[in-house]
Symmetry: C2
Subunit: 395 residues, 2 copies
């Protein structure tokens, strides 16, 4: 018998329609993938060059906490963006995913509660189920740009079982960026209720409209309760490297995270060699990438705005928008797009947004779209959504 | 506050003395590492060549279950050794560690019990703590070659909370190989009590004295309850690749494992490219490796046998021996070797065996030694142990 905890765990809503997409492809359909945050920006050559240059005779375990070189370069990167983390404050992880797993394990016991905003990154659910914690949310609204609700509403979701505040900033799936004032409010609540702050900042560099990004790592009075969850996946368009990290100034937590890292022995060595090279790229690397994503963001918001009945949130960070569609059940529409719709042999795959909600009915008419394709492809994808909606209504 | 589950988790006894070793190295001491199963056998060139030849522009997520190529080659390998697993029965994991984590999560709920032999691989404890299961053991004895005890003794450790039988075969840390009859006995118990069988067979190729290896995957009547936990780390001397897998014919379990894999998105892409090449090596690759380890096994057993008061188990598999030392507290002796002893600037690092026991006092005078160094180095290491024991007595 399969365990209750894993039976109850939902299948990722980003990938749950993958079997349908596979079938569609087998039938020769071309699919524009807006369902998954897998950028098409080239991974910097430096990554592959460093790995190719590395001469190893015996591919042994690297240190559990990470290779010295990567720890140093990663710490360097934090220093450059004004965050006071040294290599002793870091643990290199198998992607941001393991960073979250380790941190949840170290900060919660079974039955404890995690507070987060709704909607939230659907894959968090995997780790809530694996670690046996319960999620509680405060609502944010697509029509209000996913701003924080009033303090009272957030505080109302805190119980004596709440141990952790988990925040994705810039927000996945919302594309929202929290202001310094919003973070201050959350930080004060965390202090008042003695909560850990898990700050998922993997999209830190993807900020548009000239906004300034504030990290939870920059508040001196919060440093004993903050952990940054991080990853090179999006930063350097290197999702397939699976290199992430945790960063905390809390020595007890750091000790626990190192213990967890030691338990799984090590991260892959060569990927750490590549990641080290990425952190040595010139600082202006992100400028070009940011410009490209700004163009894409502008494009998708403009094109979606033209479609009858579609409301699209303004995305100021990461590379996602939530679109509210004129359908009752967006998942059904997503299935329709893969199984019954095509235009000149082409269609679009989207992530139904309901899976990003604790109260799934709140997101039932919404989809999450990742603007990770070139502008011309995005235009075509939006056209397909428009045509698809018309066909769906007649269906 | 750190969670109770992680506070209670012991630090790996293979690596807990690492800070002392670091200090000793900083003082200029040369250390022979017999504490960790990190072979010095060269990783086959094919691994690095495949990675260097791979041309990727965008290092995207690979499929959550593993790349098609690796799944196929891995299945191929199983077919060749007579195990009927196809690619649909496999999930590629971040090392054998993640294979165990996923399988425990999918087969147990918090408070359930796992039955295993004592001593057992100490890092299993990491996952017992992470998943909230309790371990129960049946004893095996260094002086009896770690053979299975009587059926009644094993059965006596089974309760109505027991969900899983976890076996390492060939055994880490014991170096013991279970006979077909022993596996049959365990299999019948698993059937009688409806237990999953988690069979850790990462040392499958390391079998000496012409023994035949029987896999739990070869019993037709057990196939709905067996999961093989596997890894390329030892097989191809590629610990730093962190590529493992699960293999099961149970479709419900396979579905749960794929769901867990999907939750953490993917394994590193390039490491899978390298691993694929390893599974394409000629079948005789292992012959030479096996010969080399046989020489090392013979050497360490002979040399340890010469030391007064040392009893050493006969190792017929993997690359470990448990040595019973003429000291009261082997951990204290291991610390002594790193901090107070040296001969011509050299010493030895060993893993105290107590950490491999549920009832730690049973292993208090024992150490686990990995025979992963060349014969000449092993000889010197054993000489250092001899000298160390003499110095320790005077101490």
């Amino acid at each position: 018998m399969i365990s209750k905890r894993i039976e109850a765990m939902p299948f990722s809503s980003i990938r749950k329609l993958t079997p349908l997409a596979k079938e569609a492809k087998a039938q020769g359909k071309k699919i524009y993938h807006l369902n998954i945050g897998a950028p098409d920006v080239k991974t910097p050559e430096a990554y592959f060059e460093a790995i190719k240059k590395e001469n190893v005779e015996v591919l042994g375990y690297s240190p559990s906490q990470g290779t010295q070189e990567l720890l140093e370069e990663n710490a360097n990167y934090y220093q450059k963006i004004g965050l006071n983390f040294t290599e002793d404050d870091l643990v290199i992880t198998n992607g941001g995913s393991e960073a979250l797993l380790f941190t949840l394990l170290a900060t919660t016991d079974v039955g404890d509660e995690v507070l987060t905003s709704e909607p939230f990154y659907t894959n968090y659910k995997t780790y809530f189920h694996e670690t046996g914690v319960k999620v509680r949310t405060f609502p944010t609204d697509v029509r209000q740009g996913f701003k924080l609700p009033a303090k009272e509403e957030i505080e109302g979701a805190i119980t004596d079982k709440t141990k952790v505040l988990l925040i994705s900033n810039p927000g996945n799936p919302t594309g929202a960026v929290y202001s310094k004032e919003e973070l201050r409010l959350l930080g004060d609540l965390a202090k008042a209720h003695d909560l850990w702050i898990l700050s998922d900042e993997v999209y830190r560099e993807f900020i548009y409209d000239g906004l300034e990004f504030t990290s939870f790592g920059s508040f001196k009075d919060l440093e004993d309760r903050v952990v940054i969850l991080d990853s090179i996946s999006k930063r350097f368009s290197a999702c397939g490297a699976r290199i992430g990290c945790t960063a905390t100034k809390n020595p007890d937590l750091q000790k626990a995270l190192v213990k967890l890292a030691t338990g799984r022995l090590a991260c892959p060595y060569l990927e750490q060699v590549g990641a080290t090279a990425l952190y040595r790229l010139p600082d202006n690397y992100f400028d070009e990438v940011r410009e490209e994503y700004t163009r894409r963001r502008n494009c998708i918001e403009e094109e979606l705005g033209k479609i009858d009945g579609v409301f699209c949130s303004h995305s100021t960070g990461a590379f996602y928008v939530i679109a509210d569609l004129p359908v009752e059940d967006a998942e059904d529409f997503c299935r329709f797009m893969l199984t019954k719709f095509e235009d000149q042999g082409e269609t679009v795959m989207m992530a139904p947004a309901a899976g990003f909600y604790e109260h799934q009915e709140k997101g039932k008419s919404q989809v999450r779209l990742a603007y990770i394709l070139e502008v011309e492809k995005l235009k075509r994808a939006c056209q397909l959504i428009d045509l698809g909606l018309k066909a769906y209504k007649k269906n």
